[in-house]
Symmetry: D2
Subunit: 358 residues, 4 copies
Amino acid sequence: MNFASDNIVGASPPVLDALLRANAGPKAAYGVDDVSERVAARFAEIFEREVAVFPVTTGTAANALALSAAVPPYGIALCHQEAHILLDECGAPEFFMHGAKLVGLPGRDGKLAPATVAGYVDTLPKGVHQMPPRALSVSQVTECGTVYRLDEIADLAATCRQRGLALHMDGARFANALVALGCSPAEMTWKQGVDILSFGATKNGCLMAEAILVFDPALAESLAYRRKRAGQTISKGRLIAAQFEGYFADDLWLANARHANRMAKLLSDGMTGLPGVRLAWPAEANEVFPIVPRSMDRALRAAGANYHAWSETGLNEGDAVGEGEVLVRLVLSFATEEADVRRFLDVAAASVRAQAAE
Amino acid sequence: MNFASDNIVGASPPVLDALLRANAGPKAAYGVDDVSERVAARFAEIFEREVAVFPVTTGTAANALALSAAVPPYGIALCHQEAHILLDECGAPEFFMHGAKLVGLPGRDGKLAPATVAGYVDTLPKGVHQMPPRALSVSQVTECGTVYRLDEIADLAATCRQRGLALHMDGARFANALVALGCSPAEMTWKQGVDILSFGATKNGCLMAEAILVFDPALAESLAYRRKRAGQTISKGRLIAAQFEGYFADDLWLANARHANRMAKLLSDGMTGLPGVRLAWPAEANEVFPIVPRSMDRALRAAGANYHAWSETGLNEGDAVGEGEVLVRLVLSFATEEADVRRFLDVAAASVRAQAAE
Amino acid sequence: MNFASDNIVGASPPVLDALLRANAGPKAAYGVDDVSERVAARFAEIFEREVAVFPVTTGTAANALALSAAVPPYGIALCHQEAHILLDECGAPEFFMHGAKLVGLPGRDGKLAPATVAGYVDTLPKGVHQMPPRALSVSQVTECGTVYRLDEIADLAATCRQRGLALHMDGARFANALVALGCSPAEMTWKQGVDILSFGATKNGCLMAEAILVFDPALAESLAYRRKRAGQTISKGRLIAAQFEGYFADDLWLANARHANRMAKLLSDGMTGLPGVRLAWPAEANEVFPIVPRSMDRALRAAGANYHAWSETGLNEGDAVGEGEVLVRLVLSFATEEADVRRFLDVAAASVRAQAAE
Amino acid sequence: MNFASDNIVGASPPVLDALLRANAGPKAAYGVDDVSERVAARFAEIFEREVAVFPVTTGTAANALALSAAVPPYGIALCHQEAHILLDECGAPEFFMHGAKLVGLPGRDGKLAPATVAGYVDTLPKGVHQMPPRALSVSQVTECGTVYRLDEIADLAATCRQRGLALHMDGARFANALVALGCSPAEMTWKQGVDILSFGATKNGCLMAEAILVFDPALAESLAYRRKRAGQTISKGRLIAAQFEGYFADDLWLANARHANRMAKLLSDGMTGLPGVRLAWPAEANEVFPIVPRSMDRALRAAGANYHAWSETGLNEGDAVGEGEVLVRLVLSFATEEADVRRFLDVAAASVRAQAAE
């Protein structure tokens, strides 16, 4: 019953198989090998257009490099005030952007509203004393486990375009959002106006495979250099490329994401059916954020469940975690076994009954 | 007959096996898993002392991060004027060091002499107009395929210590140098005064496994943060750790390096036995830099040999490549097959005979 | 009636005189001339201890350089959420600190409470995902025109010391705070635990004279280099030094500050005596922040008064600016003429009467 | 007899007068005052075109900011290997350019030849392992006291344009070069293809007045922000602006430069007329670099002459300073008195006679 994160498991077997297959024989270094080239073509196919693809080794690097291509050192990148890039990257974006600033804005359910973005940008004094906003970064899936709808993305994109902001999508859980919406990768990104995407695959079945996808050609220009000088151009490029090959083959990535989301649905339905349990935010992808009685939390941990207590700073206005409650995060992955979810629900239900009996 | 580099092949089978074994089951993310901990302990054992270990994804990152821990943004890191960090990293050290400068110094056979280092540092004006030197970086194996002897390292270290410079070793081909010298890892590093080491394993049998090893505790302090903000802390840490586990098991790393060096010896002995061929620098590890007749170069390439022509800028004073000659680099690796080397030598010898017959 | 800022006037005549006197004859460049040396000695005398003095050309540079000496590129500098360094420097601190982050915290009357600082630092997760706080910057006078009392500074300093934070004071209006408290420079700084000070003189009678004063010798080490590479080491150092000489002579600086504060008292007493006017924050130095009826604002501007409407984001909890009101900032300086203040008050009073008559 | 530098004297009296005149009354801060606006218009007049003007406080900042507008963090700025920006700025360009690299190239008499620039750029490998050159910086007057002719500038500009490099001119001694060539400011800059200029006035009669002039509008875009975040936007902008006003009035700047150059001619003619004295490089502006007998050097210093011994690294190929000789730099300025030059020559001549008598 380990729901601590979706990066606690290894790779999907087909991903490993692809890696083994790509291991044999000499290949050109630094990502100009045949596997890397096939993968680049595959990305273009999947996204239904030409796209510049820059594989990198971590989501941290993908996000920070992507932003560095869009924001000058004296600019601002806007994001949600709960954004991973703002709170959990040890300043990687600021490092890669050479001191540009991240500004976190509020928003319900981990999402930013166009009016909030517009309000911030439009009321900022327009002199040299204030850094000019140049990009907006949204997380899809959000840090609250919710998913931006297509029209929400389109509205944000329009807001950005009118103000000269590039739109970046942090897709650490891209596939989970995609299958939640039931749309195509193109529809979730450039067709709505996304300029640059961090495409994550590590959490959903790879060992380490992330890529920056650039839809606005002007942003691609500097990235080959930026990636190299950031130590993100790996010599045996087949390592990342082969993982992507296995990831895309037979739509493994979509199947993996569907499984994770289905497990999340099972878990959130089960939990919300219990008295005293409610969700902090809707569970729309592969993460569930229930607020549970402390007694239930204790019972679950006693039974061996592994998960993180979560920060209350992202709660919607008016919401609060009570004295006897705790907000927790449960992450489901391609590798989650249904039996584990059911056992977790059983323990939770038993805890409710035990409390009622006291 | 592919001698283009030692990063054109995949991983040694035992390294892949270790990766497969480590794939199963949940493990804590970000390098605090059991495999990572075993590997850290193994490094301490191999280096015969406590050592801070920071696995990273590329040699570029290892060198740049290591230097950033030793050199303030207003300082200078000295290196050989042919150093990889100076010429081939797209400015990664300058990026990670926040604008600190690399200064390249001359030296025979790709090596720096203590007097050269001392001469530079001691004659630099000591005001605020000049950046103060704070580190020296040496490559072991050097960019000319030579290997610093232990007393040479010790002398450089003493020169550094007297002048407040940290001593960094770029060990992209650490194992090849080690077996060339026939000494222990401790002897080649901290026992001579090396403060911080980029320990490379990718070229010698891994897919992507590099680590920064810090012997001077003062330099370790900032590296955990610096690594994270550089996007070099990978979430599924087992990926790198498992490779090291396979690399060290049964001394695979030493066997791999011995094989590569033996292949280089076979090749350099064979080449220098041919009339009209000479070495630009002694072949002391797994690289051979012959100066060959253009006719031989053509014959080899026609026979399918793959290797790089090399820059003449590193030639020792007084040496030159003649009109009808070309300087080339041949890199041998753990995966080089002896038959390929012998075939290469046969083609070269046949070319000599053909030229003589004309 | 120009109360727009204290940087809209030129220099006090004695400051200009000192500059003229220092103009003659050759002097060593880059701040090692006799005037610069006399000024450094004078600072030591005024602050009753050895102190490293680094004259710079702007307050922006003074603050950003000071923080860069205290905070590593991966660290955090805390400040009030209304701090000038956070909102009005176009990212200078982030530039000089190489991407380190500024985090703004809330606090009544523009002041930070020790508990707020402690609360932030102590609840921040202690892993590599979060940047570690390494400095606190306080503004004395604050951005709300208030002044930290000595015990408040001492308490903040203790809070910092227990957590490994350096304490920086942004003294853009140092003299105004000093005469408000009626204490000595030493008492307002290092005796309470301030480690590094931006000593501003431009606003209080110079043309351009700022200095970084370092009380913690460990922070001084890098500043000579940092200042030079920031283009802040001016060649004809006498320019800044001579201004300081004129500024300190006959305690001109204290007289100037006392005048400005007295004018502010006159203005705030007059304003708060009018019905419908209240202060957003106590007027403790040379700035007054009244909330006035819009009709009064119109009348004042019609009469030629010059001042800025001010942001409401810094209002204390529970306070608000009403529909028919506006928050404005009035800054008094060494050059403010009492007649201008009295005329301003007359116009304001007349506006009240006119409104009452309607 | 102080020939140590042209920054050892204060300001020309008319410059000080202008400063005094500009001191009175309130003026808008941050360089939008009337004096600043007049000065910007005057620059446009002098340069015969629209030009973006950014006053800054030091030549260090002017050069570093100018380059930061032209070179991305992963790029290279080329310059002469004796360039001030490379050797004497404590890494300011690297700081402002966020780690971009300066590469020094050789050239006779402190000048770069187009073929040298072309050779470097054209032979550099065009991959991501090497930083791409994006700017060339030339010093006019050069570090060897010589002056680029107009056709030489035009040829360099053409070489740059063909290769996508911006052309920057470090005009720390702009006026001295200008009067040496007897051309107009427009002719020496944008009419030959200069894109961005550091216009120095401090050495030639101001106390601290430098400006970045941008002829290529694309390079101007970011500079307002970059200057502010570098702490180079001074609040009482009249300080710099007024100096420029005095500097340009009645062509003071040209008269000052002519005087300095005439003094240099007098000195160099006198020195080269003495046996045993020769010039390291032609004295074309206000600096003279004679190689003199050590006995003469001792005699001059004994007589109270003040000047710097100079580095031999810039000597032309084949030249050398003999055992009994020393290379020195003599700088003449607007404030140099002819009597001092004559006395210096007398002492030098007497030394020759004394040696002959021995």
